[in-house]
Symmetry: none
Subunit: 193 residues, 4 copies
Amino acid sequence: MPTPDPGRRNERARQAILRAALELLADSGYADLTVEAIAARAGVGKQTIYRWWRGKGAVILDALVESATAGAAALPDTGDLRADLRAVLRGTVAEFADPKLSATTRALTIETLSDDRLAEEVRDRLLRPQLAAVADRLRAARRAGQVRADVDLDQVVELLMGPVYHRWLLRTGPLTDDYADAVVELVLTAVAR
Amino acid sequence: MPTPDPGRRNERARQAILRAALELLADSGYADLTVEAIAARAGVGKQTIYRWWRGKGAVILDALVESATAGAAALPDTGDLRADLRAVLRGTVAEFADPKLSATTRALTIETLSDDRLAEEVRDRLLRPQLAAVADRLRAARRAGQVRADVDLDQVVELLMGPVYHRWLLRTGPLTDDYADAVVELVLTAVAR
Amino acid sequence: MPTPDPGRRNERARQAILRAALELLADSGYADLTVEAIAARAGVGKQTIYRWWRGKGAVILDALVESATAGAAALPDTGDLRADLRAVLRGTVAEFADPKLSATTRALTIETLSDDRLAEEVRDRLLRPQLAAVADRLRAARRAGQVRADVDLDQVVELLMGPVYHRWLLRTGPLTDDYADAVVELVLTAVAR
Amino acid sequence: MPTPDPGRRNERARQAILRAALELLADSGYADLTVEAIAARAGVGKQTIYRWWRGKGAVILDALVESATAGAAALPDTGDLRADLRAVLRGTVAEFADPKLSATTRALTIETLSDDRLAEEVRDRLLRPQLAAVADRLRAARRAGQVRADVDLDQVVELLMGPVYHRWLLRTGPLTDDYADAVVELVLTAVAR
DNA sequence: GGTTAACCGAGACGGTACGTCGCGTCTTTAC
DNA sequence: GTAAAGACGCGACGTACCGTCTCGGTTAACC
């Protein structure tokens, strides 16, 4: 596969494809998200998709990365760890609770579950930055003496995010701000100094 | 859907189908798990599958429920909460780490992500009993004065399981016994008295 | 196959099946004429059909034979050969032109085309008597000196009926009384004395 | 049905499909003539068949038209009407008597009997030209004073062909050269001058 | 500023699986 | 033993997408 020359790439087509994918997901969900539907809605040939992406999973990932990068990069640090963590978890919960946004995450999750390579790219390009931002905030808190020195911060991040993903994935309960706050409280009890 | 008379159901066919589904998943993964393949391996007509299940997702669920019910029902209670929770999480971690068993869970997760009805059935028939068993163990510990009285035990269960699911789903790190133990430690710090 | 005992046969079921077959054909044509539909409409199990008939073709044949036998057995002989032949052909033409009756013939024809055994039974039980009746009428005419002595009367019957079947089967023109009369005229020219 | 652009059509696939259909009919008869079998033998996807034809009936028709057009277009005119008509009928009889060729006609007839649209196409594209050729020969004979002026030549054609089709369809007797000659004789008696 | 190679839209192609329908057989229960 | 009921193994149906391919028709870089 002779990787195509990115210099010749049609930017209009690229954006139309990413947009079409997100719109289809928001409108009709994963079931109608086919490569043919994306191509048709974007007014693009199927080959143009396969030329630049490995499949629809990669398209969703790019669309998500693009819109995520447009958003926040780092976490706010108000000095109040509890408040900052609540803001993060409430944000995550809100994202999962929103049907449109959730549809995209759901679709990407399906794709990653049967495509290891995509899973790694999602982790490295989409998840790691988000989780690292939270870890950074915790690191700052530790420096400020608000967090115990003997905990692995990456594990703490997973202790925070895990329950939210669990509840989203397995539908074990409602994804509300209260739940986000409760998780923060438990985690702080475990790691605060 | 005029559900057919279960009295007329062929038990041999039912078991052959469940078995075939699990074998296919163990042998070749989700990609080769088609209704046609299940039918072929089970020596059964496709219609026999569609007569009793809504699709391959429902078949996997039944297969899993059947094999789960055969296994453990309640959690052991050695009196040592830390040890018991470690055993649970190590078991979950081991299940996720095993390629064969994990393939089944992965497949079922894919199906639930695009089938709300199936998702609810998975939650109610497969997950709730497992989570309830852990909650029961925590309740016993609380009665024994080992756990704080002011925590929601269901939330604690999610605090335990969430990180493991997170790591499995998003591949953010290795699923080892050490990780299971670390999570238990953090959670105990949060809720132990 | 141990031929079932006709003595135990349920006459009500037999008639319901024949009636259901004819009704289905009249109502919705060959496409909806399935063994299952016949059984359902007749309020009968499928096995009852397969116990007594080789398939739906045989059912149609029986239904047709039953209703044909109920009708005319022999041809009228008014002494006027032309008039009598016209009556026969006009009758055949009318039958073919009628959508309900034609549907039955059409269905039976389809079945015979892929079932040699059925074809022979149709010929012997349904067609031969009809054609023989016409031949008999011609024989009487020959005795009366109205028909040449050197023609094969069976061939003359086919010369009469053939064109009508041809036009029905191949839709090469309208099936009208005029056409019936025209054929009679040509045939009489060929064989009248 | 948005008929696709014929300019993009793959000629190799088209011919492979027509050939496969004829071969299947010749080899194993109508029972084994399924769209799937045609596709498999032609090395083609099923969709390629459904893209260009309405079903297997249309495929058979095209195959037959193609091979018929390759053959004779008009009838020979030796000046001897009796000889020419005998040649035509003997040809038809031979075609019907040949198992391979007859299988094709039989299959097309079945299809035609449950598909009005196909029936019209068969009549217009396959039958009409053949019947018209015979009518033309009769017209020439009439111009030559060998045929009565007051007969409808199309009716005469049906008087010729009808009995042959009748005998083929209803199996009322053997399809031999003698029978062809006998029909010609009767018809000539009716229309010769 | 003309050539030429890659991209582009379009969509046909060989495939695979879908979910449905009907076949003819088998099994169960009732009469 | 016949009957109603209907599940069963089977196989074809016609459809939907997959990922690849081929076809003109633009571009855009390089001579």
